[in-house]
């Protein structure tokens, strides 16, 4: 990837992170940690890879994205807003009674959301269904899904994993946001889903492990997934929960709590500093 493109993606990802903080802080609740860890992948998909049109969000030929870890709606909403699906200003209404930005993604209310999610483990099955439909209809669209590493504890994920291989869904790419944390602590302490890559490999998936915050690696993996025939690809993306906000990084407590006013200001300041650092070199 050329340096210009990479710099632009980094800028966009930072704007998206700012939107996450703004949304969660103004709601006074929500899930910043896993939204921040996924932000670079969301940025790459929506600003570099996916064929989507904010003017025509239900285009039948579009690529799909399913946020199986639906609690990270702030990440998805901020991405969609910055991509032009709805005003960035609306992020401030997140989770409020007079807003359409529901706590968990709602495909009927929020332009650009392809699947309603929130009950963990189900989105990946829906993505399998979308990929299967693409095969049946002989369409060229691709389906992307993002799973949490804790979410892998849901048995349904593995039922979906089996089905995706069985039906040779090479049009499906799943990301595992491997941030090592879930609500009650380290995934390895709560209910260890590891070794994650080996498990997917045993189910027959094409497995690629990357650094979730490196755009070159994301691009290489997505391209490899597109080139891989007859089986689905999982991109096991090693990430930092809370990435980009110093006091949130790797802290389980920021899974589902909102920053207070001063904390939000500090987070936005850090992100702004990172932005101006990008401008200046």
């Amino acid at each position: 990837m050329d340096e210009m493109t990479k710099k632009q993606l980094k800028k966009t990802a930072t704007m998206i992170r700012k939107g996450i903080i703004t949304a969660v802080a103004s709601a006074g609740s929500g899930h910043p940690g896993g939204s921040l860890s996924l932000a670079d992948i969301l940025t790459y998909l929506y600003f570099k890879e996916m064929n989507v049109d904010p003017q025509n969000p239900k285009d039948p030929d579009r690529d799909r994205f399913v946020l199986s870890k639906g609690h990270c709606s702030p990440g998805l909403y901020s991405t969609l807003a910055h991509r032009g699906f709805f005003p960035v200003e609306d992020l401030k209404g997140f989770r409020q009674a007079d807003s359409y930005l529901e706590g968990h993604p709602n495909m009927e209310m929020v332009p650009g959301v392809d699947m309603s999610t929130g009950s963990l483990g189900q989105g990946i099955s829906a993505a399998v269904g979308m990929a299967l439909a693409g095969k049946l209809d002989k369409k060229n669209y691709r389906v992307y899904a993002a799973l949490g590493d804790g979410e892998l504890e849901e048995g349904q994920v593995w039922e979906a994993a089996m089905a995706a291989v069985h039906y040779k869904l090479d049009n499906l790419t799943a990301f595992v946001d491997y941030n090592g944390l879930q609500i009650d602590g380290n995934i390895s302490d709560v209910m260890n889903p590891e070794p994650i890559a080996d498990k997917f490999a045993a189910f027959g998936w094409n497995v690629i492990s990357i650094n979730a915050h490196d755009f070159d690696e994301i691009e290489k993996a997505v391209e490899a997934a597109k080139a891989c025939k007859d089986k689905p690809t999982v991109i096991v993306a090693h990430s930092v929960k809370g990435k980009g906000v110093s006091y949130m990084e790797n802290q389980a407590q920021w899974h589902g709590s909102a920053p207070k006013k001063e904390q939000a200001e500090q987070a936005l300041k850090e992100l702004d500093e990172y932005l101006s650092g990008l401008e200046n070199n």
Partner: protein, 311 residues
């Protein structure tokens, strides 16, 4: 009614209080801080198991433990306890009538900002349709404490429904509670308001408002929806001739339906129902949602007037 405590908090405290019984085992699905089973875990970590985000698995594990003689409390959000794991609850816990207490927290729309995907409004309908399942929805912290302790003592499956939101403490500490027995909180002769969960405190307020209009409303807490206290409902129908039910649940299949089932078979009188009108919830502050979905004393008063006109 000044003090406010969420029933889930009272649940966690009750578990910690009875945890000295070494037969009790508590399971959770990555939500122990929210369901408050963390209170039990602090005191008895060796009998608290985190099953991870795998509610279906948790329910069947609970069944296995219970089959070996344990008294098992299994907790997650009501949405996932009754919804996600319905088949496991029905076939592994309900069918063999195992001694599992399902501590389902964050029921109803007062979950608030998480929105409809996390707001169970169908759980009572699902759970009460399972043969042999006891279904309990306490109104406050005091009744929660007593009913959790009774559930632990009785043998058989129990679905315990708790809320996320802080709700008024309405009972004094010396009130006697009995699973399956309703409580007349306030007597009245014109209309009976039958409620459970946090709607009991709304019903009390509605009765006070009605009193100002010269309408005498009886308030009954049906904390146990199943087995339901038919006697107290039939008596209310005979003595007041009109009933309003109030629940934080879909009006289809919950308390309103259960009360109507009793009445049509025994002593039919006009009934109006306050509850979620067969729509999904949404995100928002609990207070805003309570208004939006009409779970208010005002709406109870309006339904009371309406049912009085039908007498």
């Amino acid at each position: 009614m000044s003090e406010k405590i969420a029933t889930r908090v009272a649940y966690g405290q009750a578990l910690a209080e009875i945890g000295h019984d070494e037969n009790i085992v508590v399971l959770d699905a990555d939500l122990s801080g929210s369901t408050k089973t963390s209170e039990f875990k602090k005191k008895y970590p060796e009998r608290h198991f985190n099953i991870g985000i795998a509610e279906a698995n948790m329910m069947a594990i609970a069944a296995g433990l219970a089959s070996c003689g344990k008294t098992v409390f299994a907790s997650t959000f009501a949405m996932f306890a009754a919804g996600r794991a319905f088949d496991q609850v029905r076939n592994s816990i309900g069918y063999p009538h195992l001694n599992v207490k399902i501590g389902a927290t964050h029921a109803g729309i007062t979950v608030g900002e998480d929105g409809a995907s996390h707001q169970a409004i169908e759980d009572i309908a699902l759970m009460r349709s399972i043969p042999g399942m006891t279904v309990v929805s306490p109104a406050d912290a005091v009744s929660t404490n007593a009913l959790v302790k009774q559930a632990a003592k009785m043998v058989g499956p129990v679905y315990l429904r708790f809320g996320r939101m802080d709700v008024p403490v309405i009972y004094s500490a010396d009130t006697k509670f009995e699973l399956g027995k309703g409580i007349t909180i306030k007597d009245g002769k014109d209309v009976a308001i039958v409620a459970n969960g946090f709607m009991v405190s709304q019903a009390i307020q509605a009765a006070e408002m009605l009193a100002k209009e010269g309408i005498s409303a009886r308030v009954i807490d049906i904390h146990t929806i199943k087995p339901i206290d038919a006697e107290i409902i039939i008596k209310a129908a005979k003595e007041t001739g009109a009933i309003v039910t109030c629940e934080e649940h879909n009006v289809i299949g919950g308390l309103g339906s259960a009360v109507a089932e009793v009445l049509v078979k025994n002593f039919p009188v006009p009934v109006e129902m306050v509850g979620i009108e067969d729509v999904f919830g949404k995100s928002g502050k609990p207070a805003d949602l309570i208004e939006k979905y009409g779970l208010t004393p005002d709406n109870i008063v309006e339904k009371a007037r309406k049912v009085l006109n039908r007498k």
